[in-house]
Symmetry: C2
Amino acid sequence: MTYCLSLLCREGIICVSDSRTSAGVDNINIRPKMRLYSVPGERVVCLMTSGNLSVTQTVIALIEEDTVRARTDPAHPHLLTQPTLFETARYVGEKIRRVSDLDRVALERDGFNFNINVIVAGQIAGGAPELHYVYPQGNSIQATVESPFLQIGEYKYGKPILHRGFSFETRLSESVKFALLSMEATIRSNVSVGGPFDVFVYETDSLQIRHRRRIEENDPYFRELAGIWTGGIISLVEKIPTLTFDPPPS
Amino acid sequence: MTYCLSLLCREGIICVSDSRTSAGVDNINIRPKMRLYSVPGERVVCLMTSGNLSVTQTVIALIEEDTVRARTDPAHPHLLTQPTLFETARYVGEKIRRVSDLDRVALERDGFNFNINVIVAGQIAGGAPELHYVYPQGNSIQATVESPFLQIGEYKYGKPILHRGFSFETRLSESVKFALLSMEATIRSNVSVGGPFDVFVYETDSLQIRHRRRIEENDPYFRELAGIWTGGIISLVEKIPTLTFDPPPS
């Protein structure tokens, strides 16, 4: 399983991904799911993937093939030559459709789903920071000010904390805490989601990869965050008045 | 959709259920999912159901048929004559198997799942308070001190708050707040779960139905609980230190 999320706020973008890959509970591996690309001063693109590992790796391989080919054929389009982030998401969608053409029949014949979801986050000079969600069919949707986050994989456990406290106006430094708390809620409830976590914090208009970090589950900061949170929640519940009941029926 | 949960603590049991029933978003109805039965001084049994509404109602109808029949045939076994709460759960499981015999083939022929889950919570004199989860196959599991809560229906959104703060040792008055916060997290994230909510608080060894209440979504207490919670969470996140990053690569 997987959990990746991306938050869009006025000050920038937060991306957090887990790295647990499993083909059943007896075969768990660590594979990062976040990839960062940039042309400093011009664009930053973050890709996060969930789904069948073979499908996601093949999509990434096709994307990287284009990049390699562009070294000898500079006119060849690739991930970092798209005019907008929307077109970048559509480009990723085209690669998904290519892999669908290659592998879907063989996968489905043996009962596997053709399953991949991709978050494309970033900014291209002249545009605003954006988040796009690319589906297994290659189509995409985009986060908005009203719906400012995207999640892929095991999204339910980590959603309430975002609904409670995160909005487009949340400061970037606070947003990263909401993202990590969302991840922490998920790993507590689903053992097939786990660390280390990749964290990327992008500041609007920086057009560079400045703040990225890999956090282990036993990282002192991550443990402190979880500890303050759990202790604080219990105190907070104590502050809520007690529910009263109607007198029992006589 | 449905969300019902039951918490087991040293001081007693909390049961909370929603009442939204839908056959698609264009056909939403209100139907309570909690039913309380008692023989005061001897036993209290709370049933909460999720799944196909026809299946759950037919199971309840069969249970109530037994009760009616026992009025003229006092030797006829029914829900409130079982020797233990485990046997009470098995009795409910037998009714589920009866409905499976009656309706499963016809349902599955038209693509419907035979889907029902039941929580059986309560206490019988001589035993401890217990929670049992009865599956569509009629078998059951039981909550324990280590795993002291059961959920049916849309359980994921409301699970992290329970993992964070609730344990078997949590006071009864605090436990009811955790249960309501779990419900509140769920209705925020899934519109097919909704109020009014039925709340039942059972005190160990009382062997009576003393504390029950129906709460509307706009109930002043429920709104206060949600307000304190959301405001408190934002303050709590502010108390967490800011994540630091490695210096950017030069």
